[in-house]
Amino acid sequence: MELKIQVLAIVASLGLLVVVLELVRRRRFLERYAILWLLSGVVLLALSVWQGLLSTLASAVGIIYPPNALFLIAFGFVLVLLLHFSLAVSRLSDQSKLLAQRLAMLEKRQRDTERRLEAGDEETLERVAPPR
């Protein structure tokens, strides 16, 4: 692999690692979501430094030019990360749906209770604020 490309790959994966670590340090990033990013940064860095491994991998799957193998692996990580986020988004939208539904129920109960209180419903008054 040409030196220029190797330097570029090392700088890029180092940059990625530093940014992710910094985001985690500032608590902008939940560790849960940082793990995949860190893993991809570490693997890409290792492969850019360790030329022999990259060449072995590349020739094993029939890639003539080793840096292309690096691209392929990086692309694989991107796909996995995207899938991971789709899962996270699906879970969040399920959760927000449930929250919205529960909120609607609670608001209705609160409105009903307030209305009965205003109407001076004795039974409700006792239940909500028991006489001392």
Partner: protein, 255 residues
């Protein structure tokens, strides 16, 4: 009129999103034609006066803080029915398409066969001549054909939301109801859970106002989404969260 069983409680759920033009009429009409039904309008994040109008007309109102879509709205109805111990729940759309006088037809079918868990009003059984555009009818017939093969029972109108549910089906759908365009997938769920569904012929109108949840530009997306839902539903390892399973919010495996 159906003879009303006074020991049973009945709930009509009216999902409504920006239906201020029609929801008042729908609620009053249900009160008049099906007086033994309590009415809850699910105001699905409307930006118009749907909620207050429904309340003035005499309905209970559940207000979603933002729009969840028809599936989320109807599911709120199921949860309300379950929480308040209703024996039967009917869905009547807020756009005036479903006729409250036809609720009795559904209730009769439910009373006639106690093994039935869901009674579905169909536009295409009998000779009611539903005035739908050809494109929409074609789509519905494709779903009908597929579903009928899949569940081994003739389904003529799988997109109809005009349905009456008993306690078992209420409990099922309160736990898990499909998201975007739920009716077709719900038929499949009923089948998976070995509940029974029956169709009866009803009349329906074209929408009285507002905008359908299925806009014409979205109909291709609708077709694809529902077809996907049918096939994914078939392949789902665990169709619905059962008591004791992981919490339902983790069930985000649905694509």
């Amino acid at each position: 009129m159906t003879p009303v069983n006074p020991d049973r409680s009945y709930l009509a759920v009216v999902p409504a999103y920006n239906e201020a033009a029609t929801v008042g009429r729908v609620v009053r009409s249900i009160r008049q034609r099906a007086p033994h039904f309590d009415i809850v309008v699910v105001d699905d994040g409307s930006t118009d006066a749907t909620g207050p109008i429904a309340e003035d007309a005499g309905a209970h109102v559940l207000r979603h803080p933002f729009n969840l879509g028809i599936g989320g709205a109807v599911q709120s109805g199921f949860v309300y029915a379950l929480d308040n111990g209703y024996d039967y729940m009917v869905q009547v759309d807020g756009d005036g398409q479903h006729l409250p006088e036809e609720i009795a037809v559904l209730a009769d079918a439910m009373a006639a066969d106690p093994r039935v868990d869901v009674v579905c009003g169909s536009r295409f059984l009998g000779d009611h001549g539903y005035p739908a555009p050809v494109s929409r009818r074609t789509g519905i017939h494709i779903f009908a054909f597929l579903l009928s093969r899949l569940i081994g029972q003739r389904v003529s109108d799988p997109t109809s939301g005009f349905r009456l549910y008993n306690r078992r089906s209420i409990a099922l759908f309160a736990r898990d109801y499909p998201h975007d365009y739920p009716e077709v997938e719900a038929v499949l769920m009923v089948h998976h859970h070995r509940l029974r569904i029956r169709e009866v012929p009803v009349r329906m109108l074209e929408r009285g106002g507002g905008v359908s949840s299925i806009r014409s530009g979205k109909s291709a997306y609708y077709m694809i989404k529902v077809l996907l839902a049918i096939f994914v539903g078939l392949a789902r390892a665990r169709p619905v969260v059962e008591p004791g399973d992981d919490a339902p919010v983790v069930a985000g495996q649905r694509i």
